[in-house]
């Protein structure tokens, strides 16, 4: 009986301590998560520049968005970015992960070098790649000229600028995905390969029938994280091209930034943010479903 009372008093004591422990977070959550979430749903129905009073405009922001050529442009640019970035990221990361997953010397050193661009600020990487891509005497064009090839208009040709930024983003982030694939590769049971070899499967078959299907969880992660990254692309076009040439590198995030802080259109910027957020969630859910189903079929 006494034991029991002890336990129950201890339990309620835990309850109080628990509440004290989480109280600061609850305050933080209300201020910086719940309030912004609710407020964004109010903002999308208003015209507001922060200074003058808010003005109710109903669904006008959404109507404007549907007829806004720059909104369509930003979506198109983001999709182009993803179309180049995701496949490139997967191929390069998988190649290096497979190479690092063999018995070779200096594995740690190679991994450390591939990971270096990940830890360095995107600002640094972009300033650097401006010189890699520079038309007159950039690193890549200097190499091209010395090989007798013509100069490439990496970031001054509107049709090439976004793919060039996607290539740079791949260089910056691929280290993360190499490591994620390495973890995935190390989780594949060795017996699978052994029994497949006994059954006469060559290395190409083993790769497509064992490695790729078994890597599915890592693959989903790579696709999802790259997609979120693509929709968040900001500092790279901001520093490198300012969204140009001819709005060809205007990213979703850069457009929100311009509407809010260049034009002071808070309501419209919040509407853009809302729609992009819904798109991100929809795309990510769709990717997960497609990739997970593929895994079941394989």
């Amino acid at each position: 009986m006494t034991v029991r009372r002890d336990q129950s008093s201890q339990k309620s004591g835990f309850g109080r301590t628990g509440h004290i422990f989480v109280f600061p977070y609850v305050v933080f959550f209300l201020l910086f998560a719940a309030y912004p979430l609710v407020f964004s749903l109010i903002l999308v129905f208003h015209r507001w520049n922060i200074v003058t009073p808010m003005e109710w405009v109903g669904f006008k922001n959404f109507v404007r968005l549907l007829n806004d050529p720059l909104f369509a442009k930003a979506i198109g640019n983001t999709l182009l970015f993803l179309a180049v970035h995701i496949p490139l990221q997967i191929v390069v990361a998988l190649l290096f992960a497979l190479l690092l997953n063999t018995r070779i010397a200096a594995r740690g050193a190679f991994r450390a070098i591939f990971f270096l661009p990940v830890v360095v600020s995107g600002v640094v990487v972009t300033i650097l790649w401006q010189q890699v891509y520079a038309y007159d005497n950039g690193i890549l064009n200097a190499i091209a000229l010395s090989l007798g090839l013509p100069r490439v208009p990496w970031i001054i040709d509107p049709s090439m600028a976004m793919p060039s930024i996607a290539l740079m983003a791949t260089w910056k982030n691929v280290g993360i995905y190499i490591v994620l694939f390495l973890v995935g590769l190390q989780n594949i049971p060795k017996e699978l390969y052994e029994s497949a070899s006994l059954d006469g499967a060559d290395s190409i078959r083993r790769f497509f029938y064992i490695t790729i299907p078994m890597l599915n969880p890592s693959m989903i992660l790579v696709v999802v994280l790259s997609t979120i990254g693509g929709f968040s692309l900001f500092i790279e076009p901001y520093v490198m091209t300012g969204g140009g040439p001819m709005q060809s590198t205007l990213s979703a995030m850069l457009y929100i930034y311009n509407q809010a802080f260049y034009f002071g259109h808070m309501g419209y910027a919040a509407t853009l943010g809302f729609v992009f957020a819904v798109m991100i969630l929809a795309v990510v859910l769709l990717q997960k479903r497609l990739l997970e189903r593929e895994a079941v079929v394989a």
Partner: protein, 269 residues
């Protein structure tokens, strides 16, 4: 033969990832006319470009600002993150499930949705152009709470009960008994938070206009895009090199934790 091919591929990869950084660091020290050489050496290395950067913008002050903001954010995230993580893993209290669900939910919400309202909140609280305005929205992080909770779940209750019988308070148990066991987790979360905070540039661009309060990546961004660097390439590379240096030094010492921390962000997926 096969091994040789592997080494050639890996080595070319190493060059592709390392060469641009080396070119940048050496370019910061080269005279302007030689920067466009692809060579990683010059007989005329000097600190002239670096001196120009320091003369034009308050880079040292921005370094200090970045240290203050990143250090404070990191301490706050590991302190509060481990408290909430501990409560969720080891304490019984009313609303625990609801809170955990709310934390998982905030991890799913894209920041594009909350950025503008968060900015307006900071404006209305009068926190623009202040350290608190820079730090406040990242003082706690849902991801860190989830990482801590995950680790604390694996700590045996018997250990905690033993400490309780000795009369330890829960706060003491967390920081004196659990933290020493969780050192790698604490370090991983700390590195992840510090790196993210150090490299953050969008938020400072929004809330800070005053030069003396700008963080380092922000100041370098404005320096390079705002025309102050003019067309002097050496000066731009010098600014970029100074910005890259602190994190690179930390990375040299804590490489494993940097890599682990990025793997743990996989939880977001």
């Amino acid at each position: 033969m096969k091994t040789l091919g592997r080494y050639i591929l890996l080595f070319s990869g190493g060059v592709i990832f390392a060469y641009p950084f080396l070119w940048m660091a050496v370019g910061a020290l080269k005279p302007e006319a030689e920067i466009h050489d692809l060579a990683l050496w010059s007989s005329h290395l000097s600190l002239a470009s670096l001196e120009k950067v320091f003369a034009k913008v308050p880079l040292a002050r921005s370094f200090l600002n970045s240290v203050i903001v990143s250090a404070f954010t990191t301490l706050s995230v590991i302190f509060f993150g481990s408290m909430v993580g501990y409560a969720l893993a080891k304490l019984q209290f009313k609303g625990r499930q609801v809170l955990y669900a709310a934390i998982l939910f905030t991890m799913m919400v894209p920041f594009q949705l909350t950025l503008i309202p968060q900015y307006i909140l900071i404006v209305k609280l009068g926190l623009t152009d202040s350290y608190l305005g820079l730090i406040a929205p990242t003082m706690m992080s849902a991801l860190s709470i989830v990482i801590f909770r995950q680790f604390f779940l694996g700590i045996p209750d018997a250990l905690l009960d033993a400490a309780r019988i000795d009369g330890c308070s829960e706060l003491r148990i967390l920081f004196r008994v659990v933290w020493p066991l969780a050192r790698p987790t604490v370090l991983t979360v700390a590195i992840l938070t510090f790196m993210t905070s150090w490299n953050e540039v969008l938020w400072p661009l929004l809330v800070v206009r005053e030069r003396s309060l700008m963080t380092m990546p922000q100041l370098v961004t404005i320096f390079v895009t705002g025309g102050e660097a003019e067309t002097q390439l050496g000066v731009q590379l010098a600014a970029a090199t100074m910005l890259a240096l602190p994190v690179t030094i930390l990375y040299a010492f804590f490489q494993r934790y940097f890599i682990d921390s990025m793997v743990s962000t996989g939880l977001k997926g």
